[in-house]
Symmetry: D2
């Protein structure tokens, strides 16, 4: 995260709370920071981008942006705080974004100003080069962004945002490449970290994944045109057919005329896709590696039931992310599945400056226990992960207060012990419950009858690696569980972060 000498921007303070208080029950989740979507060769491209971003909204709810290009009006851009459905669906807005090529982005924000995304940090970013304009949208995190930014500033670049992604456009501006794809290639070769990028020129759509392929990116066909998207669920909503995943280290340059041109500009490396995409980030109806995410999560639940069985009356998910694993646990164990906790659908992510009394309600605003169902029962609660443990605590209290006889937590991921530096918002290591406690200590801390995480091998089996994790050459990035970072987190080490090796 760059040193913020750049000004706090209050441009949106009129419309948005200056100090939002987050009382979301999901606040104890890791958060993916971005979703990207691009399209070329279809009329009224912005409509499809809006739909695609709506389907990717779970990857970023703070803000969104769309850029399109049209012969008559040139490049057109709209960036907004808030949800896609609230900003990008009106006929008026679509009319302001004409053209057959365009890209879009939804953002949570990890780097940049946390919790107070300024409009200038909202992507896509645009740059005007001597050969024409280009826009770029980025999912991931650049691990040497601070060093790059410092160097670029010394050489005369003016940064307009606090986003790490802005480095890419400045590197492109400095490149001597003759075409925009050439410049993008050169820029991305200087960038370390995880990235799935979509970009556009006046006529081309460009996609690229980092050499390890940490973040997802898929290619789809839509009539005579083409689509790039973070997940397949975004292809479904626009009616596009899934062609294939963009490969790790691959760059594709696509136009309606020439189709998809692929090349591999980086040194080849073994794939290390983020395993947490399977556990939590991706939507259950998306397809990763040929298999529905839902089925993988159900398989995780089955593995959990095999690894850590317990005698009980009901298996209940912590809604909504624990649901598929809870179903799997129930199917494997034969213990009936039930909705012991009900979620209020009318909950937004935050309440705006609520009164003291309402703030204190916390998780109750979102979840309610099905009291008549739970009373006297031995309940297995299945959740996807434990981060700080704050929500788990409150849920346990609600369940016991409702009269449950026993509470058993089963967690669909191994203990989260290490922060992610590849595009996921994780608390500092000290705040991760599993970094400070053993499984038994966590059980006692939460005051539940039992607490079990799936093993790392169990998780690998569930995602389809029947032999479990290859410890010598792990098939996925699982740094959050193991501390083995496949890409050196340069900036963070500079700032004092101790890796596992250093820590030991």
């Amino acid at each position: 995260m760059p040193e913020a000498t750049s000004p706090r921007d209050t441009t949106l303070a009129k419309d948005l709370p200056s100090h939002p208080f987050d009382i979301d029950a999901d606040s104890d989740k890791l958060r993916e920071e971005c979703g990207v979507f691009g399209v070329v060769g279809v009329t009224e491209a912005s409509n499809f981008i809006a739909l695609g971003l709506h389907a990717l909204q779970h990857r970023g709810q703070e803000a969104g942006g769309i850029v399109t290009y049209d012969e008559t009006s040139g490049f057109n851009q709209a960036r907004r705080m808030g949800l896609v459905r609230d900003n990008f669906t009106s006929a008026d807005m679509m009319a302001m974004l004409p053209g057959e090529v365009g890209i879009g982005h939804v953002r949570y924000s990890t780097a940049g100003h946390k919790g107070q995304t300024a409009i200038r940090d909202v992507q896509p970013f645009f740059g005007e080069f001597s050969m024409g304009g280009a826009a770029i949208a980025h999912n991931g995190n650049i691990t040497n962004a601070i060093a790059l930014r410092k160097e670029l500033i010394e050489r005369g670049s003016i940064f307009q945002s606090s986003s790490d992604s802005e480095c890419i456009i400045h590197l492109m501006a400095r490149s001597m490449g003759r075409t925009i794809p050439d410049r993008m290639e050169e820029a991305l070769r200087k960038v370390e970290g995880a990235f799935s990028v979509v970009a556009m020129t006046r006529s081309k759509l460009i996609g690229c994944r980092d050499p390890l392929g940490v973040r997802p990116l898929v290619l789809g066909k839509l009539g005579d045109g083409w689509v790039l998207a973070s997940e397949t669920c975004a292809l479904d909503i626009v009616g596009a057919d899934l062609i294939r995943e963009i490969e790790p280290g691959e760059m594709v340059v696509i136009s309606a005329e020439t189709g998809v041109q692929s090349h591999f500009p980086f040194r080849r490396a073994k794939s290390r896709f983020c395993i947490f995409e399977h556990v939590y980030f991706s939507r259950p109806d998306s397809i990763l590696g040929g298999r529905s995410v839902y089925e993988t999560r159900e398989a995780i639940g089955r593995e959990l039931a095999k690894e850590s069985p317990v005698d009980a009356d009901l298996v209940c998910p912590v809604p909504d992310s624990g649901t598929p694993a809870a179903i799997g646990f129930s199917l494997e164990s034969g213990i009936p599945y039930a909705m012991g906790i009900i979620r209020n659908q009318y909950m937004g992510r935050t309440f705006i400056e609520p009164s003291e009394q309402i703030r204190n309600m916390g998780v109750r605003l979102k979840l309610n226990v099905n009291r008549a169902l739970i009373r006297g029962k031995r309940v297995i609660l299945v959740d996807d992960s434990v981060v700080r443990g704050t929500t788990s605590q409150k849920i346990k209290e609600m369940i016991l207060e409702a009269g449950a006889a026993e509470v058993h937590f089963r967690i669909a991921s191994p203990p989260t012990q290490w922060p992610c530096f590849y595009g996921v918002d994780t608390p500092e290591r000290e705040k991760l419950l599993a970094a400070r406690m053993t499984e038994d200590e966590m059980r006692d801390h939460l005051g539940v009858d039992s607490l079990k995480f799936i093993s790392i091998d169990g998780l690998y089996r569930a995602v389809g690696q029947s032999g479990g994790r290859d410890a010598k050459s792990p098939q996925y990035c699982d740094a959050c569980f193991t501390g083995e970072y496949p890409i050196t987190p340069t900036d963070m080490i500079e700032r004092g972060f101790k890796t596992k090796v250093a820590a030991e």
Copy 2:
């Protein structure tokens, strides 16, 4: 519905779309029109009312209102279009609604101007009488409102809204009763229809249900104070204990000092509670008649599995309302439960003036099929009801397009053949699919492999009537299924509606 000579009110047209286009996948549901909540004897009452209304938001999303009374500022009132969490949670708002007694209301709107609720139609309604002010909030529908309104106007009353509920306050104004509860009693005796009412004076909270008890109303204890609410889930959120249901025909007058005074001002009648509250309207975590609504719905699913079994690979709910019945069906049949359809959580009720292309997406904006899971499978889809059949059609298409081998619909309610006149928004009879077709015709119309509704007796068994429906004296109001209206729909007959007897 009264003849609207009263002006179209454009007071909110600046903020709200003048012609909202509803592309909600839930648009083919019956809609409860209201939820009510009241509290007396607790400090900062408005906080509790806001929380209670938030928990009741599923009963009405178009608008909400709160009235409180405080010695210093007198009666205070706020009425707003939109969701409780967007309007009624800020510290500023709560500060404008001081006091220890208050009532609130959330509204969908059946009577009044459909689809364009004006702010003046938003409850609670307030009236100033010679003995002081009173506010009233109403869940239900007055079946002789047109006649009452006409008479009141002839006698000099000025109506400010197009709501049927406003009659009550004018009847109270005309009453010679010496106290406000007396006037309310007198007013309600002139009113026909279904009503669960909460009202307030400077110091008292009043609750009343119509003689048949069609709509729910429960009493809770909150510290030294008391709460009235449409459902128990609203007691849970404020931490109140459920004392009991208000009985059909009962009026309670409650103050902190005197506690709950109960009497029965109407001629006693046999209870005819709305059976559709069990099927769809109430939240699954609410308790009706001592049993969790969730369990009742699971039981409906079990009954369905017994009545209409079918060989298949998966039982999938149409989210979210079909979920408990689908779980019950799976538990009874042994066929695995799975989430074959995924709901986009970031969908609001409507998209504001969307572009043509986005509008055409319809149900896809909200639901996506879990394609990798469904492909080649025989799927049982469990839904709560079929109204017009429009959404069922689209869901079937999505499922088949995703490659399902067979599609079997199982519906957790009997065929909906008759409109409701007791506070539920139903289409005209001709638009109800089941009013025009037999079960087999509907199956063919929808083009599915099988379609089965639960029987009326099966439904009664699931709600706990082991002997099924007592045809001579039905235990519930089930007019929407049977056409047997327990209260004569005077206004509608006047307007040409033909009852079953008349129709036959």
Copy 3:
């Protein structure tokens, strides 16, 4: 002003500051509370009403409303907080207000909730009677409103606003008259006070002035249609020709077909038009009694120069209301006229919740002294009136700080010693500087070299009464200067106000 048991309405609190802080330099002026406008027999009537209200905006800036009637859509209504140009000029809004007949109202608010006009207090008011609907807009004040309201409530009327004007519509509802004009006549006969009313039915425009004709109302011809307006400047803006003033005690019923039908329903009385309309309320380009208001004000300045000459270098107006009188003073005295004080055109009426430092700037935000011009000069400052004296004080300080050698105040009205109860917002008597001090004491209090008010006879001469005021039967209402109230202020006496007779 009625006892407010009716609820404080926070309906607009989201958009408007709950406690606006008024730092307007005009805050020390008396304020007219309303302007009315009506039209019949022209297509797209709402456009003309919007224009007319815009021209009358100086008579009320807090809120405005329009009602129209159209065969297809019935009565249509829009009421808004804020300025006409911000609310009532868009094509969208005009489309929502179709029809060839309509009325409109701009409001400051005297009765009702001061300083926090609620949307429900915004006129026109609408009532539905057995023979159809009617809307009414009122300029003036009903002096027996509290008594009327109490009686109406006892008889079962439900008031929706805290406005005194709402009494009229309830009296109409209670009337046995067979037509709406009949009912309005009957209602107005029960009303005491000052009123210029415009009203409408489905096809007719109605206008009426109280027997003394305290508030203005003029009739214009617009193509084949007719216009009623508070002032002639509103005829000018729509291009209507001035026909004549509606006479005191006259009621006109106008339709496109029948033209203007006039009658005099009240006992005839001698006219007592408000003399302050000449001094300050009306716009200088309006015509009152056949003469431009500007010319009258210039004549006031000439009279002042004759009555209270002083040797000086410059005559400067306190902008903008003192300008015509200052010009007159200069023309009569031969002392050069100059703009010694400059007004910031970008000042609104209030700054919303300003910071402490900005609030303290007070009058400086609006006015600045022309320092280079004023330095070393003997300056005559001409202002229209002195109410509390607070602004005069600040202006004097600014002028002296800028280096003026002498400051002489000349006031274009006699000392304001009594509150107005006929539709003008006046402070309580104790707050009127002239009620507590003699002219000399005021001069010393303000610390100026001289201070002179025009005499009451001088003022009468300036408005065209060459013989001055007829003390036995004054030609105007001048109660604010003389304490001689032509209509008994019943409600206020009830509340303890002491008239001159009682006080002496």
Copy 4:
């Protein structure tokens, strides 16, 4: 104006009309594009900046921005569309802009996207350099901006706005200067055109005027701190004392500790201050060259009366800008001054998407003739300038329609024949009435009895040059009247503009 390959930005389209329709009566005026204000060494600097910008609002109404620096929060920035009083006065906003040093800017917009200022074009601009951040606000126009921009882009700069002023910050980024003032000096030496710049670092306030001093900039003392402002009226509002004007070609670097350090980084040149600042742009209460602008304008009126006398009954200003000259004309000629045209104070700059009928009202929405006063009179109308002549035409029609016997126009500036390229929004040359017609032709075109402009020598005399204009070395920039451009308009010549020499 740079080639816009940069995207159309729709960021504000939600809040602002995409295609505002300007029906302002002032639309036929030349428009100054900017006002600047800066302060150092006072607590809560943002309050003073807001006040100063409010006083300078006449120099730019489309948007405004403030940047401050505070040890704790770093640089803070807020940029908004709309008026200062609507955006920059709340306590909340001021709290977001802490610190003792800051600068602000109000903008109309000449370069950049005309008529649709995007938020990213709103100044101040901020840049982060290796030695720290700096913000800059610019009044004027860079005449070689297109060439500079092209070169900067080729060398790798990413432009974020379409504003010519952004060049300065990129030139600073490219500079090798060791301090920010050094870099600014180097940057400004590469810039051609007219500029009055205020800038800031963490601790310093910087001001600079171009070598000819075309745009104004003054220095004031405020307690222990210092102020820079476009005009002295902005010193008055904050209570600062005028110290002196910044000299042409001077750069001042100011801090609380070191006071004002002055140097002259550019080659010295003879001053060519914009003479139109005297005629129209500056506020009448500002002081230019030791004399009040008001007095200069009054002197212009006197000169006009001497040069072009006419026998008439009344001298009337076209409000508000013609007022001082009309007063001067009256004083010199002895013909009575009168307000023959009244301005509606409640007019904003534009009506938002008005209906057809309202749009057609045009100037009538803002101005009304004082009919009763004007009828039968011979009227001299004094206006400040004639640009396209459109408004003059309409005013003449209104005056004649009101019954004036004769209409004589007297214009307080010479014929405007040439566009300004130094920071004023002028129509293309072909649209300037005086570029196409002689004085007599214009008289006939407007259909008035006489039309006279002040002579160029008369204007010079009025501003204090008793000998008139020095044709060999003019004392002012008067290019708009004479076509003699003191700075070559490079970009415009590139784009085909023909100078007087080239044209002849």
